[in-house]
Every structure is written in structure tokens, then in C-alpha cells.
């Protein structure tokens, strides 16, 4: 514990009251034993916000991340959990997560980028009606104003192709120059795989490779890591990285809970990555080191399975997942600060995975990051899965291009988490 040490029972109760009341409108004073979520004093994201604020204030790692089944979400329960956490022996696994050490070697830079969203815009209230959700569940609860859905004629390939075409045009690179395509998609389930199908769709050369990378919402970061690593061995030093998701079609045919389905939109992003030694463009941003990991503690917070009858089942613990995402992405930022040697306050933008805008808002508060430095596409598009942090990065890169401040080299932090809990991060930096 950093700021608050050894809270006794009564101080823990008082502390819990303050944390809860600080997140409620003035005049609302719940009883210590009231279930705050069941009585709708707090919505699920509000509850996560309380847990995060207690974790931040006490330093109790993953406080309330896995809330005991059947236990009321009350002020008294919070105090009990604080006491219980204080009595636990220190976490054995407190060492810093693995992070690649900086190495001398060829660097990779981003030469072009682009994204494409499903062409149908659906307002949050319409989604709430269609999914029979309580009014404002999506708009206020998740902070999503609208979602972008693929039209009937659009799929992962079409969106991916659109994004790639934009990136290729920006980079002014002919497709014959591309050594390999790294592609990631959670919703594309067919064979030939997404990478192979997209390779054909883009009419890439036959000597250009194509392979798929998993990782779900962290897939874009993992794909960039793969691309950067492989670029050193390729003749032209050019890789195309694409993420594309059409959740609407996949989830509409599933037994996923309505509040889960209502969070997701459809979109794609593409990045043209080149060996930095091959370009003299000072303006292009270079890819820094990557960090990654996988923590099974929260593996059950989102589980998607395909049954024998091909029906998709979704087990979704929204609060637990949101909590885990916030704390993990904050930790990734911490590691990236060490890796880049620059504080998060110096970052021009943070391209983050965005489960929903409320999660990002809570993270921004916890991580002491101004919200305007996080391109918040999820507010108008929804959660774009593997494309989320990539689309966010594209927006950040576009904003940076418009900025002319040669005195300050640009910096972007990128972080994402995915079911598993798989996580990854990197940073992009400019040279003076």
C-alpha cells in the first residue's frame, strides 16, 4: 500500500464510503449494506470506477478484479475486501513483466496508414431498442453514441482492402514491393484464411507472403511486432499489416448477451511498415520496443466457444473484464515509459484498445492522461476488436501529421488487452 497503510475495519468502511460517494450525485447516500449495482445507484462501469479508485488510492493490486460470486456490491463489502486484501501475503508474482530489451538493429517505421469503417451508422438508442436493453444502457452506460456496422455488401475483406488501399496510396508503395502481409481478424473464420484471402483481394505479388496472427483485440500490436521482426530478413523491407472485424454479423448469429453485442462495431485498419534504414523520411514514426504478456487470472472474464452445432456461445463478465482492461493497460503504459525513456505525459497520443468509451475515461483518470490525447473512436464506432487500437493510431498519426513542431519529436503509446488476458504494447517515436 502506498498512500493508505493498514486501514482498520472502521477506517476501511469510512474510506469505502468516501470512494462511493465521490462517484454519486450529491444527495444520494446509500446504506452501507445496499447492493449498489442491484439498486441501480451505480451502473456496472460506475462500480468498476469505484474499484479502480480504491486500487489507485490503496495500491492493492487488482482490487476487486474478481468479485466473489454472490457477494453484495456494497460499501461494507468493499471495506471487507480491503481488510481481506491487506491480510494477504504479498503477491509472489510482482516482478516486472517480460519486455524485450532495446537492441541495436534495423528499425521499422510507419510509412502509410488508413482505416475503413462499416458504412452503416446506427444510433445507440436504436441499438438499445433492437436488443431490448434498458434505455441509455449503451449511450450512457458504455458511453457509445453510435455504432458503425458493415452493410450487406461489406465484409472483413472489403473493409480490409479499403483500409489497405488508403495506406498504400499514402505510402506511394506499389503492391509488388510488399514482402509480406500480416493480417489479424477474430471474426473471419473461413479458409483460405483472412491473410490469404486478403492477399488475393489486394492482388499482392505471388512471392509476397501472407500469414495470420491471433491475439483478438491485441492482434494489431502482435502483428506489428511480427512485421517489425521479419522486416530485417526481407528483400524489399516492406510489410503490410491489416486488422479487420465484422462483429455485427458474427455476433448477431450468436447467443451473446445483448449488452455485449451492443458494444461492437465493424471496421478495419492498415499500416504500411518499412525498414527504417530504407527511408530517409524524418517525418515517419518509428516502431519502438514491444511488451507483451498473458495473465490467466482473468481468463474467464470473456470466453467465446463454438459448439458442435456451430452455435457460438459467449460468457461475458463485463465488470471483471473492464476492471482487468483498465488496470492492465495502465501497467502497460508504465512499462512503455521505461522502455521509451519518456513519461506518458510527453506522449502526444495514446492509441489504446477501447472496450467502450467509459472504460477509456476511467483509464484516463487513473493513468493521469488527458482524454483528448486518446483518439476516442469507440464513441462513434463501438469496440472494433483488433482494429480498435489501430484505428485509434491512424487518427493519432493523421493529427500528428497536421502538427508542425520539429522541435519536439512525436511520441505515441499503444496498448491493448484481449481475452486471455493477453496484452501487448509498443510506442512510436519520431527523430529530431
Amino acid at each position: 500500500m502506498n498512500s493508505l497503510e493498514n486501514l482498520d475495519e472502521s477506517r476501511a468502511l469510512e474510506f469505502s464510503r468516501r470512494c462511493v460517494l465521490g462517484r454519486l450525485p450529491s444527495g444520494v447516500i446509500p446504506g452501507d449494506d445496499d447492493d449498489l449495482v442491484e439498486t441501480e445507484v451505480l451502473d456496472s462501469m460506475g462500480w468498476v470506477d469505484v474499484l479502480i479508485s480504491i486500487e489507485s488510492a490503496t495500491g492493492l493490486r487488482d482490487f476487486g478484479g474478481t468479485w466473489p460470486e454472490g457477494k453484495a456490491k456494497s460499501i461494507r463489502a468493499l471495506a471487507d475486501m480491503i481488510g481481506e486484501a491487506q491480510r494477504k501475503p504479498p503477491d509472489e508474482n510482482t516482478r516486472e513483466p517480460f519486455a524485450a530489451e532495446p537492441r541495436d538493429g534495423p528499425e521499422a517505421s510507419i510509412q502509410g496508414w488508413g482505416y475503413a469503417l462499416g458504412s452503416v451508422t446506427v444510433e445507440a438508442d436504436q441499438i438499445e431498442q433492437e436488443l431490448h436493453l434498458p434505455p441509455h444502457k449503451i449511450r450512457d452506460g458504455a458511453g457509445i453514441q453510435s455504432l458503425r456496422f458493415a452493410a450487406a455488401t461489406e465484409d472483413e475483406l472489403i473493409l480490409g482492402q479499403r483500409a489497405a488501399d488508403i495506406a498504400l496510396e499514402m505510402a506511394e508503395v506499389a503492391v509488388e514491393k510488399i514482402d509480406f502481409l500480416v493480417a489479424t481478424s477474430t471474426t473471419f473464420l473461413a479458409l483460405p484464411s483472412f491473410a490469404a484471402s486478403l492477399h488475393s483481394r489486394l492482388l499482392l505479388g505471388e512471392s509476397s507472403g501472407a500469414f495470420d496472427v491471433g491475439g483478438a483485440c491485441a492482434g494489431m500490436i502482435y502483428s506489428l511486432a511480427v512485421a517489425k521482426a521479419l522486416l530485417r530478413t526481407t528483400p524489399q523491407g516492406v510489410a503490410l499489416v491489416v486488422a479487420s472485424e465484422v462483429h455485427s454479423r458474427r455476433l448477431s448469429a450468436s447467443g451473446a448477451p445483448a449488452e455485449f453485442r451492443g458494444l461492437f462495431g465493424d471496421g478495419a485498419c492498415a499500416l504500411l511498415v518499412t525498414r527504417a534504414a530504407d527511408t530517409n523520411q524524418k517525418s515517419s514514426l518509428r516502431l519502438g520496443d514491444f511488451v507483451w504478456g498473458c495473465s490467466g487470472t482473468f481468463a474467464s472474464s470473456l470466453e467465446i466457444n463454438v459448439r458442435e452445432n456451430a452455435e457460438m456461445t459467449v460468457e461475458f463478465k463485463g465488470e471483471q473484464l473492464a476492471h482487468a482492461a483498465i488496470t492492465q493497460m495502465d501497467r502497460i503504459l508504465e512499462v512503455l515509459e521505461n522502455k521509451s525513456g519518456r513519461a506518458r505525459a510527453e506522449a502526444d497520443y495514446l492509441a489504446l484498445h477501447q472496450p467502450n468509451p467509459r472504460v477509456v475515461e476511467i483509464l484516463a483518470e487513473r493513468a493521469h492522461v488527458a482524454l483528448e490525447r486518446i483518439p476516442l473512436m469507440s464513441r462513434t464506432c463501438g469496440n472494433l476488436g483488433s482494429a480498435a487500437c489501430g484505428v485509434s493510431l491512424c487518427q493519432a498519426l493523421t493529427n500528428l501529421r497536421a502538427r508542425h513542431d520539429p522541435s519536439r519529436p512525436p511520441l505515441i503509446f499503444m496498448a491493448a488487452v484481449a481475452p486471455g488476458l493477453v496484452w501487448g504494447g509498443t510506442f512510436l517515436f519520431g527523430k529530431r
Binding site: 455488401t153 482492402q161 506511394e172 506499389a174 503492391v175 488475393s200 483481394r201 492482388l203 505479388g205 512471392s207
Partner: protein
């Protein structure tokens, strides 16, 4: 007299090879069908339901009195309606559409490009490579063009929807060769089709003329694959007609060609050249 709606005008040696659509049966395309062009997806769904495409048009290659090519002064365009008096023919596989004529005459109004593509969709169409010419396709090189055995092919022209196209420019200034790589609906690709479409070739010549002589083939290619391709892919319909060249004596191969590429090029697209 038989009537044709000209669908393909292709460069062949010093002249042009011409193909037209002949109505089979009495069904007319109604106006509403033309206004609301079917998408490739709806066409595929319809094909699945019917088991096959119900052809309402078929391709006929009218030949002049002498040889197979019409002179450079050929006065018609795609969509023109022409009529002809048939002459005795002895078509040789795979050019079974060949029809000797005593010449062509104008026969009324032309159809628009949208209407023409709509008609082409009801003529010979294939969704994949195997069914293009009813026989196996061969390639000699990895990135090269495909060919068929003349004796195995059951036709010499076929339409197909495509999803993507990229151009390649080969040769020296003054003798440039335009080729296209085309992705079919099936996900299969035709890697290096010579573009023999008269109007695309004219467009390409205009592009070459409009650019400074110092421009390289790579720059031409880049312009085609960025600005022009972007315009092309914006169209509501992406449809190609693939034809078979007449084999060279003793070669035993009929090479594939890009006879028509819809949408047809718009001279205004050269604005950025």
C-alpha cells in the same frame, strides 16, 4: 437480318476484333431491372437458386468479308446496335462464336454502358476460372498469363464479375504494353492479361501522351493503380470479358486476354495526369 448489340471491340493486329450480343428468346430486359442493377451477391444467389444463369443473350463474333479484323475505321462503339446478313460460316474451336457476314449496318439506338453490362450478365458468365472456357487453364510462368488448349475450350469469350484489378506497364517508351491482374469473385486471380479493350488502350495511349516523356513505366503504373484504379473501383459494377486469342500456328495455345473492362475509362479521369 440478325441484330447485335456490340459488347467488345478489341485491338487485333492493325484492326479490331468485334463481338456483339444476340438476343436468344424473346425476353426483353425491363426498365426497372436496368435501373436497379443486381449486385454480384444477388446474382450469385439467383444463380444458386436456378442452378445456372438463364442466358438471354449470347455472344456472336461478326467477321468481315475478309480476315477476322475490322479496319481501324470501324465506326461503331460498345453499345451500338448493328445488323448483318449472315454468310456461311465454319467456326473452329474454341472460336465457336465466329460468324461470317456481308458487313455491318447500323440498326437503331445504342444502349448505355449500364444496360450493356446488365445484358452481359445474362450472356456467358462464370464465377470462377474453371468455368470461363469450360476447360483447364494453364500457366507457363508464376506471374504470367494463362492459356487453354484450343481443342478443349468450349467457347472463346466469357464474362465475369471481378473484385479488384491492378495494371502493369511493360516495354519501352513508344512501345508500351498494358496488362492487368484481375481478381474474380471466386478469389482466384488472372495474373497478367494483356489489355486489348480498344477504349482502355486508347485511354492508356492518351495517358502516355499527356505525360512527359521522362516519366517511367513505374510512374505510369503508379498513376494507373492509384488515381485511375480508384475511379474504376468506385463504379457500381465491376465486370470483365475475358477472351481467347487466336492461337499461333503450331503453338497449341490460346492465350487469355482482357477484351472488355467495365466500367469503361472516362477521359475526365486523366485530369490528374
Amino acid at each position: 437480318m440478325r441484330e447485335l448489340i456490340l459488347s467488345d471491340i478489341t485491338v487485333m493486329g492493325p484492326g479490331y476484333c468485334v463481338i456483339g450480343l444476340e438476343r436468344v428468346g424473346s425476353a426483353n430486359l425491363d426498365a426497372s431491372a436496368s435501373a436497379a442493377l443486381p449486385t454480384p451477391e444477388s446474382m450469385q444467389a439467383a444463380d444458386l437458386q436456378k442452378g445456372r444463369v438463364c442466358a438471354r443473350f449470347r455472344s456472336v463474333r461478326p467477321l468481315p468479308r475478309i480476315g477476322a479484323a475490322w479496319p481501324k475505321t470501324f465506326p461503331y462503339s460498345r453499345g451500338s446496335t448493328v445488323c448483318f446478313l449472315p454468310a456461311p460460316s465454319s467456326a473452329v474451336p474454341p472460336h465457336l462464336e465466329d460468324q461470317n457476314t456481308h458487313g455491318l449496318a447500323t440498326a437503331g439506338e445504342a444502349v448505355s454502358e449500364v444496360e450493356l453490362v446488365d445484358m452481359l450478365r445474362t450472356a456467358e458468365v462464370s464465377a470462377n476460372l474453371e468455368e470461363l472456357f469450360g476447360c483447364e487453364l494453364h500457366t507457363d510462368t508464376q506471374a504470367g498469363n494463362a492459356w487453354v488448349d484450343p481443342g478443349s475450350a468450349t467457347r472463346s469469350i466469357c464474362g465475369c464479375h471481378f473484385r479488384n484489378v491492378r495494371f502493369r506497364v511493360f516495354g519501352d517508351p513508344g512501345d508500351l504494353n498494358l496488362r492487368a491482374k484481375v481478381l474474380l469473385e471466386s478469389g482466384e486471380t488472372l495474373n497478367s492479361l494483356p489489355v486489348v479493350d480498344r477504349d482502355w488502350r486508347r485511354f492508356f495511349d492518351d495517358l502516355v501522351q499527356s505525360r512527359s516523356k521522362s516519366r517511367t513505366t513505374l510512374e505510369l503504373e503508379a498513376f494507373l493503380n492509384r488515381a485511375i484504379r480508384k475511379e474504376l473501383l468506385r463504379a457500381r459494377y465491376l465486370f470483365a470479358r475475358i477472351g481467347l486469342a487466336r492461337g499461333r500456328p503450331n503453338e497449341g495455345k490460346c492465350w487469355l486476354m482482357l477484351d472488355s473492362l467495365f466500367p469503361q475509362p472516362n477521359p475526365a479521369w486523366l485530369g490528374g495526369a
